[in-house]
């Protein structure tokens, strides 16, 4: 079954390294195949299963990568990178959790909390480092609670 070759090839392209064993690739292909069946992408399954070298035609590749994203991360499609996206983090986390890949320790235990955005003020390009407001709200709530406890003690 060359679904194995395709899933391995696609993930290896994305992550730019060779890491998927045959057993893992086959396991993932079974999930991806089920997803493709649910999406009624039978022609894609046929194309994958006759693709011996894993280098799938472009028109089918996107559909398979979307299904891989769904199986590993739960998104409907493989998103393009954008500032603040957690997709790459979620993907790596899933690969580590499933044992498909061994963590080198560079990925933390929690979501990346800050990222840079590109800005342009008409003359200069510059970057701003930002944090999701929801994370800041958690800190603000904690500040309020700590102040309340201190005020209670003082009273």
């Amino acid at each position: 079954m060359s679904g194995l070759a395709v899933t391995r090839h696609l993930l290896n392209i994305t992550l730019q390294e060779q890491f998927m064993s045959d057993a893992h690739s086959l396991e993932l292909w079974k999930e991806v195949r089920s997803c493709l069946v649910r999406r009624e992408a039978f022609n894609v399954i046929d194309a994958v299963e006759v693709c011996a070298d894993g280098n799938l035609a472009h028109k089918f590749r996107d559909i398979v990568t979307d299904a891989i994203a769904h199986c590993l991360v739960g998104t409907d499609y493989w998103p393009a990178p954008y500032p603040g996206s957690t997709f790459e983090y979620d993907l790596l986390k899933a690969l580590f959790t499933r044992g498909y890949m061994v963590s080198d320790g560079t990925i933390g235990e929690c979501y990346p909390r800050r990222f840079k955005i590109d800005c342009f003020d008409g003359r200069k390009h510059f970057k701003q480092e930002v944090v999701p407001a929801s994370r800041y709200d958690l800190l603000e709530a904690e500040v309020i609670e700590l102040r309340r406890r201190l005020a209670e003690r003082d009273a």
Binding site: A80, G84, S85, F87, D121, G122, E129, V131, L150, R153
Partner: protein, 159 residues
């Protein structure tokens, strides 16, 4: 001399009508003129002062607008709007302190530190509300200090 007239028209187009007076315009033109002279834009000064109408053409207008920006905010040019830009706040703050506009043109005491950025993931537009990382860092420092204070208060013998 139409320097004050030009400034009056420009500031009205920025701030709205009926708030920027002719006295304001005359005083601001003196400052703007000095800035233009500092910038060695004496040809612009001559062009504005010789101008008979109210609305300057694009060429001198951009230079005069940048000079207004410098006088009121210290920034060398009038920036385009971008997410999280503090420019409008600074500009309005100075206009309020000079009495050009009423204080209620700004809500609150500090610029809104949270803003929305729109990104695209290839299929959908992603709307994210964010704050500057420096603000987040300040809050973290404050929490660390407050936790220490709370811990000190809850130590046995202090209660």
């Amino acid at each position: 001399m139409s320097g004050p007239t030009s400034i009056h028209h420009l500031m009205e187009s920025i701030l709205g009508r009926n708030c920027f007076t002719e006295d304001h315009a005359a005083a601001l033109w003196v400052e703007v003129r000095a800035r233009l002279v500092d910038m060695e834009a004496t040809d612009t000064v001559e062009e504005v002062e010789a101008f008979e109408g109210r609305r300057l053409d694009t060429h001198p207008r951009d230079i005069v607008t940048n000079a207004i920006c410098f006088v009121l905010t210290g920034k060398e040019y009038w920036p385009n709007d971008y997410p999280g830009s503090p420019f409008v706040y600074k500009f309005l703050k100075e206009c309020i302190s000079r009495g050009y506009v009423a204080a209620d043109r700004i809500k609150g005491d500090c610029p809104s530190m949270r803003f929305v950025i729109n990104s695209f993931d290839g299929v959908e537009t992603i709307r994210q509300e964010v704050v500057p990382a420096s603000l987040y860092d300040q809050a973290q420092v404050e929490i660390a200090e407050l936790r220490l204070q709370v811990a000190a208060l809850t130590k046995p013998g202090k209660v």
